[in-house]
C-alpha cells in the first residue's frame, strides 16, 4: 500500500501536465490578418511556400477536378506549391487542429462543424482579410454566407454548393407534370404507385419516409418553410406549426402505403450510392435528391429519361415554390496554419475565381457559389442542372442554421420522425415539445 501515494503522485504530476498545457494546442502559426500587407498586392509580395490542403473529395474524378482548379492557382502564384490530401473528414480536421498539426487550408463537405469551428476560433476569422483585400461577399447568395459563418465570424467561405430538388422518372410519370404542392405530390404518389394484391409495393410514386436516403429533416423542412431555431438559438420545432404540417402530411402518406409495407419495400432497395439506386431501376417515380445526382445518372444510368423540378411545397405557401434546401462544401484556414497568408490567397482563389469555380462545377456537377460563376457562359448547363442553379439562387432557399450542436439537433429530429411515422408517438404536439427540450438542454450543456 505504501506505493499508492507514489502512483497517485505520478498521476497528479501527469494531470498537472494536462492542465498546464500537454493537452493545449502546440505553438500556433502566425494568425491571419495580424500583419497587414499592401492592398492590391498579388503574386510578388507573397514568399514561396508549400501549402497543405485537406479536402473530402475522394474519387479519381473528384480529385482530378480539384487538382485542375489548383493548377489555375499555381499559374497565378508559381512560388506556392499546394499539396492536396484527399478524403479527409471533419473529425480528422478537428483532431489535427487540436493536436497542433493543422493543415494550411481545410475543406469540409458539410456545414455541420462550422459553428463549432467559428466559435472556438479553430478556423481563423477571415473577416479582416476579406476587408483588407476588398472581397465583395455580396457575390454570394445570402444563404451561402449564412452557412459559412457563425456569430458574426466568417471563418469559412462556401466553395461549392448542393441544392435539393425533385427528380422524376418520365416513363413512370405517365405524362403527369411534376407536382407543385404537397397535395399534388400525395395524389400523384398514390396514382403512380403499383402494388400487389397483398399490398406489397412494386413501384412507389414517392417514398415519404424520413428514413429514405435524402429525406432527412433538414431537406424536408423547406417544403413547408419550417424553422429550426428561435433567434436566441433555442429550438423552434415545437412552436413552429410548419413542422406539424410537414409531419401530418408525411404520416398520412406513410399510412396510405402501410408502414410495414413501406419498410419492407425500402429495405429491398439498392444502395443510394450504387448503380442499383431504385430511381435508376424504375422502382420509384419521384425522389428528393441533390444536384449531384445528375452526374451520377450520367455515369450510372445513361439511358434514363428523367426530369428535375423544384420540390413541391405546402399548399398554403405557394411563395416557397422554386426554393429548396442548400448547404455545401466550405473551406477555410485553420488555426495553426503555417502559411496563413498564402493559405488565404488559395481560399480566396478557390471560392471567388470564376474560372476555378466553373472548372470545379463542370467536373463535379455541384452548384458554383458566386453569381458570376452561375452566369458564366463556360458553365455546362442543361435543363436538369439549371433547375438546381435556380433553386440555389432563389431568395427563399434555406439551410439549417449553424449551431454548435448541429448534428445532435438533426439527429434528435430524425429519431423523432422515425418514431412518428411508425405510429409510436401518441401526441404530436407533446412529441415536438420533447424534441425542443432535448435541443435546449443540450444547448445549455454546451454553454448556450
Amino acid at each position: 500500500m505504501r506505493f499508492v501515494p507514489l502512483a497517485v503522485s505520478a498521476a497528479l504530476a501527469l494531470t498537472a501536465c494536462t492542465l498546464s498545457g500537454c493537452t493545449a494546442n502546440k505553438e500556433a502559426g502566425p494568425s491571419l490578418g495580424a500583419q497587414p500587407r499592401p492592398s492590391g498586392s498579388a503574386a510578388q509580395p507573397l514568399p514561396a511556400a508549400t501549402l497543405e490542403l485537406w479536402h473530402g473529395f475522394s474519387t479519381d474524378a473528384e480529385v482530378k477536378a480539384f487538382e485542375d482548379a489548383i493548377k489555375g492557382f499555381n499559374q497565378k502564384f508559381p512560388q506556392i506549391t499546394v499539396k492536396a490530401v484527399k478524403g479527409v473528414q471533419d473529425d480528422q480536421i478537428t483532431h489535427a487542429i487540436r493536436g497542433g498539426n493543422a493543415p494550411d487550408v481545410a475543406a469540409s463537405f458539410t456545414t455541420d462543424s462550422v459553428a463549432q469551428w467559428c466559435r472556438s476560433g479553430s478556423f481563423q476569422d477571415l473577416t479582416p482579410v476579406i476587408k483588407q483585400d476588398g472581397v465583395d461577399l455580396s457575390v454570394l447568395p445570402e444563404v451561402a454566407r449564412s452557412y459559412s459563418s457563425f456569430e458574426g465570424r466568417q471563418c469559412t467561405l462556401p466553395l461549392l454548393a448542393d441544392a435539393y430538388g425533385l427528380y422524376y422518372n418520365k416513363a413512370l410519370m405517365k405524362g403527369n407534370a411534376p407536382p407543385r404542392t404537397l397535395s399534388e405530390l400525395t395524389a400523384l404518389a398514390k396514382k403512380l404507385t403499383v402494388r400487389d394484391a397483398d399490398g406489397t409495393i412494386k413501384v412507389a410514386g414517392f417514398i415519404p419516409s424520413a428514413q429514405y436516403y435524402e429525406n432527412v429533416p433538414s431537406h424536408l423542412a423547406p417544403l413547408v418553410g419550417a424553422r429550426w431555431y428561435n433567434d436566441d438559438g433555442t429550438s423552434a420545432i415545437g412552436s413552429d406549426p410548419a413542422w406539424k404540417k410537414l409531419l401530418t402530411w408525411q404520416k398520412e402518406l406513410v399510412d396510405w402505403y402501410g408502414y410495414a409495407n413501406l419498410e419492407k419495400f425500402r429495405k429491398s432497395l439498392g444502395d443510394e450510392w450504387s448503380a442499383k439506386h431504385p430511381f435508376y431501376q424504375g422502382k420509384v417515380a419521384m425522389v428528393l435528391d441533390g444536384e449531384w445526382r445528375n452526374a451520377m445518372i450520367g455515369n450510372e444510368a445513361k439511358g434514363l429519361d428523367y426530369g428535375t423540378a423544384p420540390l413541391p411545397v405546402a399548399d398554403d405557401r405557394p411563395d416557397l415554390y422554386g426554393s429548396g434546401f442548400t448547404a455545401g462544401t466550405v473551406i477555410g484556414v485553420p488555426k495553426g496554419a503555417k502559411h496563413p497568408q498564402q493559405a488565404w490567397e488559395l481560399v480566396k482563389y478557390l471560392t471567388t475565381d470564376t474560372s476555378s469555380l466553373v472548372t470545379l462545377s463542370n467536373a463535379l456537377r455541384n452548384v458554383p457559389t458566386t453569381r458570376a460563376a452561375m452566369d458564366s457562359p463556360d458553365l455546362a448547363k442543361d435543363a436538369n442542372f439549371t433547375t438546381f442553379l435556380n433553386i440555389f439562387a432563389h431568395p427563399k432557399t434555406s439551410t439549417i442554421p449553424a449551431s454548435v450542436n448541429s448534428v445532435f439537433n438533426q439527429e434528435a429530429m430524425q429519431t423523432f420522425m422515425e418514431k412518428w411515422e411508425k405510429g409510436a408517438v401518441p401526441d404530436l404536439d407533446a412529441g415536438l415539445k420533447g424534441v425542443d427540450k432535448q435541443i435546449d438542454d443540450k444547448l445549455k450543456l454546451s454553454g448556450g
Binding site: 502512483a7 494536462t18 448542393d162 429495405k267 450510392w273 429519431t415 409510436a424
Partner: protein, 309 residues
C-alpha cells in the same frame, strides 16, 4: 543514526520498488492518470478546443438525458439475457462435442470457425442474411409458412437478433469449456455412476462443481464484455437503418427506436460526434462504476463458489 536493519529494510523496499516500477508506471499512465483526467474533465465544458469550468452541469445533464436510461436498459438487457444465453449455449455445445464418439475434431472446427470472422464482417453478414425483404433467412422460414420478422428493424427483435449473432460466434467460449470438461477426472463420473447417479445428477454434482471457476471466469468476462458492447450494435444499427455514413446524412444511433443503443455507444456519440467531452467523461465514470460493481459482485460469487468446491 539508522540501524543496519533499517538500512537493509529500506534497501529491500527500494529493491521491491525497482522491481515493481514497470507495473507502477503502467498503472499510473494507463489507469490512474486517465481516471483522474476523466474526473477532472467531467467538471468542465470541453469541446476539444476550449476548456471551461462547468461545476456540476455535466452531472445534472445526466438526469435530463433520456438516452442514458434507454442505453442503460439496453445494456442491462444484454447482461441479463445475452450473457447467460451465450454461456449456457457454449456449455451445451461443449458438452455435446465432448460426448461425440466420431468427428469431434470436425465439429470443434465448425463451432470455432465463426469466432474467427471479424466482428464487423460477421455483423454485416447477419443483417443482410436477415433482411426482411431480400434476406435468405426469411425466405427459408417462408418455406414452412412462417413469416419472419424484421429482425434488425423491429425493436422487439433487434436485441434477440444480436443474441443470435453472439451465439453463432461463441466458439472461443466453447473451446474453454471443452478444455475444462476434458479436465474433469473420469473416475469421479465412474464413482457417481456406481452410486447410481444419472446424467443430470452427474452433471450437477460432478461437472458443475469442477467447472465452477471456469464458469465464473466466463460470466465475469462476458458481463464486462456486455457492459462494453459496442461494435456489433453500432454496425447492426447503421446497416439495418439503410442510412449511409455520408456528409449531410442523418442517422439515429441505436436504430431501430434506440433499441440497440448501448451505453458505450452513446458515450462515443457524445464524445466524438458532439464533442461534449465533459459529459462523455461523466458517462465514462458511470460505465466504470457499473463495471466495478458488477465485477465485484461476480468476484464475490466466484470466491464463494471456489470455497464451496
Amino acid at each position: 543514526m539508522a540501524s543496519l536493519a533499517d538500512v537493509w529494510r529500506r534497501r529491500e523496499g527500494l529493491r521491491a520498488l525497482v522491481w515493481l516500477s514497470p507495473w507502477l508506471a503502467g498503472v499510473a499512465i494507463f489507469f490512474v492518470y486517465p481516471l483522474l483526467s476523466t474526473v477532472y474533465f467531467s467538471f468542465h465544458r470541453y469541446d476539444m478546443y476550449t476548456l471551461e469550468f462547468a461545476g456540476l452541469d455535466n452531472y445534472r445533464y445526466l438526469f435530463q438525458d433520456p438516452r442514458v436510461l434507454t442505453s442503460a436498459k439496453n445494456t442491462l438487457w444484454l447482461v441479463i439475457v445475452l450473457v447467460p444465453a451465450t454461456v449456457l449455449f457454449s456449455l451445451a455445445l461443449a458438452q455435446l462435442v465432448v460426448r461425440l464418439k466420431a468427428g469431434a475434431g470436425l465439429f470443434r472446427t465448425i463451432f470455432y470457425l465463426p469466432s474467427l470472422v471479424p466482428m464487423a464482417a460477421g455483423t454485416i453478414t447477419f443483417v443482410f442474411l436477415m433482411n426482411p425483404a431480400t434476406g435468405p433467412w426469411n425466405q427459408f422460414l417462408a418455406l414452412f409458412g412462417i413469416q419472419g420478422p424484421d429482425w434488425f428493424g423491429d425493436p422487439a427483435w433487434s436485441k434477440p437478433s444480436l443474441t443470435l449473432l453472439s451465439l453463432w460466434s461463441c466458439g472461443q467460449l466453447v473451446v474453454i469449456f471443452l478444455a475444462a470438461l476434458l479436465d474433469v477426472p473420469k473416475h469421479l463420473y465412474e464413482a457417481a455412476a456406481i452410486d447410481g447417479a444419472g446424467p443430470w445428477r452427474q452433471f450437477r454434482s460432478v461437472t458443475l462443481p469442477t467447472l465452477a471457476p471456469v464458469l465464473m471466469f466466463a460470466l465475469v468476462t462476458n458481463v464486462i464484455y456486455a457492459l462494453q458492447y459496442f461494435t456489433q450494435a453500432m454496425i447492426a444499427s447503421r446497416v439495418a437503418s439503410g442510412s449511409t455514413d455520408s456528409p449531410g446524412s442523418s442517422f439515429s444511433p441505436g436504430y431501430p427506436d434506440e433499441s440497440l443503443l448501448t451505453l458505450p455507444q452513446w458515450l462515443f456519440q457524445v464524445g466524438f460526434r458532439d464533442y461534449s467531452m465533459g459529459y462523455a467523461c461523466v458517462l465514462a465514470l458511470l460505465l466504470f462504476a457499473t463495471s466495478m460493481i458488477f465485477t465485484l459482485i461476480l468476484l464475490r460469487q466466484f470466491r464463494r463458489a471456489e470455497e464451496a468446491s
